[in-house]
Symmetry: C3
Subunit: 317 residues, 3 copies
């Protein structure tokens, strides 16, 4: 009822997390993305849906890659895009996050794309801009919490290749503990009715009580991979590789790296996803990453369409 | 006569300082801004006045906040905006300021928005581009000298809430010595006929001979606040707070911080302004900053309209 | 035959180097640039040739100056421009150059403007994007190898002032060894039939076997300057000035700095070029740089038109 992501009419007001989004909202976003997938192949890859709107990339944490996807999506919708890397900006002059947000709101911003190292920061911003109903917030990654457009593009990719969610087995593999991508994807899969979601990883890299998300837990990758339709690899953060949770990148690859041999345990037409950037030879073998089962680059293409869908839906509500 | 800001027909050629601008020029900018205030509420917040023009944000000193306001204003006028942070650029390869300016002029730039740590740098640039009559310079803050668009938006805000300048008492409070904002505002107020302009601050933070600007000086804030219509707070730079001119931020707040108690000495309908970013609890109490007398966020909104007005007037001359 | 810069129909597919470009291609670029030189003087300096196209400035090496020229050129062609400084980006997360390129290609990029410290990087990228025939690569400077748009704008400038190539004497002076500009220019001059190309510099700053490029070598500037029509000065990199190859900047200036006295040895109507940024007093005297023979700022103006020409030709093929 009191869902901060929906307005009084039940429409999407902010995109903060896949968790808490109704099934119909997820399906509406995926259906809207369909119309933008064709657009990007055209000669003039632009539509005027956000003409005259001001979209701010508020990146409190640096991420050229994610910022670029949102910048392209916004520009193809004809928005004016303004990039703010706020680590080097007025917060260093002692201005608080919310004073910064107030200022940009007063400039008649239409959308904030927020990346922040702290879980929950986009929620705090969304609550704060409540007096501005025309201002929308999109979470572009907050701490370990959520990365909803990545989750949505994963869902779009799965639907594109597998058509139906209701018969699928999906394995999410690797450092689930620190992954906002995993969280967003798992919520989406269960909401859309995937009957068999598995997480595979060492005990030290799975969150306590992960079963409560409605997933099956495997520590042995050979068992967990058996007969899956979709393999969703996660990125291993560099700082974990020789940390207390993990002996070494080589050890990890031996147990949980996706090789052609391990992939052979999945269904023959299984697809392999990865949110990027990949650590080749750590969580994934190049033979798989560049092989016929990989849909890693189509994920990127669909990601632009999904972000255009989210932005155009928000701007229309 | 030989005013570098005006062309041979007496029209605005560059905006370098509020000082030296005729009363009619100030009023013309404020009137032009009126037409842009409405625009920012519209669905498509764009007009084609600067279409095909190249506006360069030449920031020799980093200021995301100010750069953003100019970038938005220029984009809403449909200009092409190019951001240059010149500290990390060709000057590090040994190119001089004026060689950089010559190069950008040769690229057929239409407008330079200049921020520089040295007082007078925008004047030097304006003089240097004299052979290019279609090229206009806007000072976005130079050293301690001037920040004319901030001064103009302050004037716009005062006129918006108080209608007439000719009956007002305005208090400018805090670190006047290091404030380019204060200088620009005081010149504007006296030019527009405000009969009672006061500056309030400790002796160490007021410039010697400040009375010659046509202001009354107060060191006791309780006396200076009596019956004023407008309270213009200044930002205390972090580096001053425990410096030789000031015992501590706490001491400063006790004497010159704007609290509800001190504000009660002003007229009941007095407005409170601040150029931002605010040091809450240093120069201003949050109860005032977020209270009913505060017009700090409307200042930001008006600031976009004022910058659009300045740019469109310059481009038209 | 297997020229990576040309497509199967012999049209320009990528611009990687002036070396290897047919005479007709060079002349076609120069002729196309003619039409854009007029444009930049107009009130609305925009044409819709690249509307809806996504141009990525992929700068693995920082260069505000060069990035700016491409950004302006692309915006005046109505492209969407996205700036990526990749030193601080996903490569620091361990992603390889080619994975980055694959990702951006998957976002339906139309053009990569590539600057890289390693010679050959733009070739590697061009080879890698072969599966995307609509994606074009422009080399914006790779290591010591090539800087073809600079070479082309030099050729454009020479043609503008001298009309014909077939009777000219051109001297290229200074640090030829480390200059990608010199290489691109020399290849262009010989391809266009300039009968007399000279390189002038100390032995330590000329590449071994430079004569094989079809140039005459001079170590004595007074001899080399005799009767030339065009003087192309090169920038001396700061890091060379007191290095093992050169005693000091002062010594260099004495022997190879362009002074009015040395310039007097050239033809009376000789033009002086420099790619910028200049080291005044090292490779060129200010009296020459700002004197009547200097065409250094027109070079910058023509550079925008040449880059627009290259981009529009590529996008049309």
């Amino acid at each position: 009822m009191n869902n901060p992501q929906l307005n009084a009419r039940g429409e999407l007001q902010h995109l903060l997390s896949v968790e808490g989004l109704p099934r119909e909202t997820l399906l509406h976003i995926l259906a809207t993305a369909d119309s933008f997938v064709g657009l990007t192949d055209r000669d003039v890859k632009k539509v005027p849906l956000l003409r005259g709107k001001s979209v701010f990339n508020l990146f409190f944490e640096n991420s050229t890659r994610t910022r670029t996807t949102f910048e392209i999506a916004a520009k193809r919708l004809s928005a004016d895009v303004i990039n703010l890397n706020i680590n080097t900006s007025s917060t260093s002059k002692g201005e608080s996050l919310l004073d910064t947000v107030d200022n940009l709101s007063a400039m008649h911003a239409d959308m904030f794309i927020v990346r922040h190292a702290s879980s929950g920061a986009p929620y705090q911003i969304a609550r704060h801009v409540t007096p501005h109903p025309h201002l929308h917030v999109v979470n572009a990654g907050d701490g370990r919490h959520a990365h909803p457009t990545q989750g949505l593009l994963d869902l779009y990719t799965i639907r594109h290749y597998k058509k139906e969610f209701s018969q699928l087995s999906v394995a999410v593999i690797g450092d689930v503990l620190h992954s906002r991508v995993a969280r967003s994807l798992i919520h989406g899969l269960t909401t859309l009715g995937v009957p068999d979601v598995r997480v595979i990883g060492p005990k030290t890299l799975l969150p306590a009580g992960v079963e409560q998300l409605g997933v099956k837990v495997f520590h042995d990758m050979n068992k967990g991979m058996a007969g899956v339709d979709v393999v969703a690899m996660l990125r291993l953060q560099n700082e974990r590789m020789n940390g207390p949770l993990l002996p070494s990148a080589q050890e990890f690859f031996k147990s949980y790296g996706l090789t052609p041999e391990k992939l052979a345990l999945a269904k023959p037409d299984a697809i392999v996803m990865h949110p990027g950037p990949m650590n080749r030879g750590v969580e994934i073998d190049s033979a798989v990453a560049d092989g016929p089962s990989s849909v890693i680059l189509p994920q990127v293409t669909f990601g632009i369409a999904v972000r255009m869908a989210v932005m155009s839906i928000l701007a229309g509500n």
